[in-house]
């Protein structure tokens, strides 16, 4: 489902503490973002912030819809959630720098519409609801 979002924010994660995202991809995305006149937030490493339960993650969930250039949507969802800063599923689109090309990422970051793509919530069944599972 696509939504028109005139004031969608952009959040860029530099994934600083591992070599899992190509430096060329990060450089291309960041430099092209700087060449636009677009305001945006950038963080060194969402994983590191989540590990410290950095209160800044809560700040980054506020302010309406957001496009996040980072990694897999499932990972991003639970990184924020694990730091008590859950993302709004209807207002979040994650662009995956591990898999998508810089061109496609920048196209989506510049687009005015929003394609929410966080995994749907599914309340976890408790152990007691699944007899025999833990035997």
């Amino acid at each position: 489902m696509s939504q028109n979002q005139e004031s969608t924010r952009i959040l860029y994660c530099h994934c600083n503490y591992a070599q899992i995202i190509s430096p060329e991809v990060k450089k291309e995305v960041l430099s092209q973002l700087c060449e636009t006149n677009q305001a945006f937030d950038a963080v060194a490493d969402l994983c590191e912030m989540a590990a410290r339960k950095d209160p800044e993650l809560q700040r980054l969930t506020q302010g309406g819809s957001v496009k996040i250039a980072a990694c897999f949507p499932r990972a991003v969802k639970w990184l924020f959630s694990g730091a008590s800063a859950p993302l709004n599923r209807e207002q979040t689109e994650v662009l995956n720098m591990r898999e998508q090309s810089p061109e496609n990422i920048l196209k989506r970051l510049k687009a005015k519409d929003l394609n929410p793509n966080l995994p749907e919530d599914n309340k976890p069944p408790q152990a007691s609801e699944q007899p025999g599972k833990n035997q």
Binding site: N16, K27, C34, F40, R59, P125, Q126, A127
Partner: protein, 285 residues
Amino acid sequence: MKLTESSKLRIVLLELEDQNQARDSAHFEYMQALLEKGFSVTRATPTGTTAPTDRSSLLVLGQFDKDQPPSDLQSENTEVRFEDSRHLNTEDVLALAEEIRETTSSFKHGDWKPWFPVIDYDRCTNCMQCLSFCLFGVYGVDDGDHIQVQNNDKCKTNCPACSRVCPEAAIMFPKYKSGPINGDKVGSKDLQREKMKIDISALLGGDVYDLLRTRSEKAKSRFSKERNPDKALNERVKCLNKLADSGDIPPEVLMSLPSPDVIQQRAQEAKEKADAALSRSQSKT
């Protein structure tokens, strides 16, 4: 390192005028350098919005008329320092940011590689296998006896072993090389593979640590009989290599494991903790 919440410094690159190519280039260089040093950076322009300001200390870099920063950026709740960036190169900006970080006692980044399990609660069934398995006290339960990551700084860097024993592939390590452990979608083949790994582990003797203990004891026994330290060491190395290959566990993690007795004790404690949580959870219903 103890991970704690602490004050935070954020750098704001402020653009009040129309786009300027030379400034864009400088901003990219500033931003890249600052991010690589672990700082959070906001680029503020007349176009677009960013997340609202919090109580972080701010270093605002921009080109200010008559060296006066705009009054609407002043805040009573936040410590803000303005610097005219016209004559600053990237090294100057980094030095300035580092100086303010120190004076505001803000968190210093980069001392720890953020390697820790992230639980996908859409998939987790609270079976406690991860808690039983981990010997390093990474997992625990909350007040409602739900599994949670409690001590992520105790996790062994590059070791994804607990995600291998999760029957639902619910444990992610976002910095892992491949899916679904890296957060990629979980397919039915992934679930079969995960189960297979547990079966292999069981065949090898309950779990990898049990195998390690058994092999280590055998090696110790052989050492006492043969009086040959090289053979005992070779046996241990062979065993560790096999575990490293089968479970993708870094050899340095296996080599850093404590003595067999301590392993046994920790495994027992972890199992008791998991059993107790499951028992309480079941008695509530």
